[in-house]
């Protein structure tokens, strides 16, 4: 089954929950297991809040783009894109506990979590032009006998 969705929403932090819920609904026909759903929601949540908070500084005006592609029954490709600030040093940003906004009491774990929960993470970023995250995740084979 090939299927695609695109979503565009304003950089307001309350839209983060909307975005991850949307993706979970979109994937429902695949009948994914609960762990996969929670992991994908976590990946989307982290990527989208990065775009809103770091890309656009929570400006409430700019747009975040989200695309999800079901490439086959098991492989999901997710793209989260902003046209904001960009990342100065990608390697540094990927380090656990790195945060550019210490005052927010954030753990600095966003990209580390995305990298750990997805099979592949690609970051394309240019200063003042924006950031694009491409994430690929394979779903576990859903087996009803294991989910009694």
């Amino acid at each position: 089954m090939k299927n695609e969705m695109d979503l565009s929403f304003t950089a307001k932090i309350e839209n983060e929950s909307f975005a991850r819920t949307c993706v979970a609904s979109f994937l429902t026909p695949l009948n994914p297991c609960i762990d996969d759903v929670v992991e994908i929601k976590t990946i989307i949540g982290e990527a989208v809040s990065n775009a809103i908070i770091h890309g656009y500084n929570n400006d409430g005006v700019s747009k975040v783009l989200l695309s999800v592609m079901i490439e086959n029954q098991q492989t999901i490709k997710m793209i989260v894109q902003d046209f904001g600030k960009g990342i100065k040093n990608i390697e540094e940003a990927k380090k656990p506990m790195f945060t550019s906004k210490k005052e927010l009491e954030h753990a600095g774990m966003g990209l580390t979590i995305i990298e750990a929960l997805s099979d592949r993470l690609e970051i394309i970023s240019t200063l003042d032009l924006g950031t694009k995250l491409i994430m690929v995740k394979s779903l576990q084979q859903y087996d009803e006998t294991k989910h009694d």
């Binding site: 976590t42 809040s49 656990p96 774990m109």
Partner: protein, 107 residues
């Protein structure tokens, strides 16, 4: 599920129960509420995530911040009943090197 926190203080031990989503939309409110609860007793604290449906890195930041604030008063924080994914991201963040993990709340 409603997003909220509740607490109980039993035998000099504070248990805070998290319901629903512990995400970037809620951590600000929870932070001030928890800090107020911390003032009610000076014993150890357990965070119970049994009824939590979602935790993101802001939730991890909330836990780390509260751990540090309790540590300054020589109080211990333990975590309890995380989902499989939440356990994975907490482990990744090194939280279990700082805090104990309990399968369930025993009072």
């Amino acid at each position: 599920m409603e997003n909220k926190i509740t607490y109980e203080i039993v035998q000099h031990q504070t248990v805070i129960h998290f319901f629903g989503e512990v995400d970037i939309n809620h951590v600000g409110y929870y932070r001030s509420k928890i800090q107020t609860i911390f003032l009610l007793d000076d014993g150890d604290v357990i965070f119970d995530f049994k009824n939590t449906t979602f935790i993101d890195s802001a939730g991890i930041g909330l836990v780390l911040g509260r751990f540090q604030s309790l540590e300054m008063q020589q109080r211990k924080l333990s975590l309890c009943a995380l989902s499989k994914t939440a356990y994975k991201v907490f482990e990744l963040s090194g939280l279990f090197e700082l805090m104990d993990y309990l399968q369930e709340v025993k009072l």
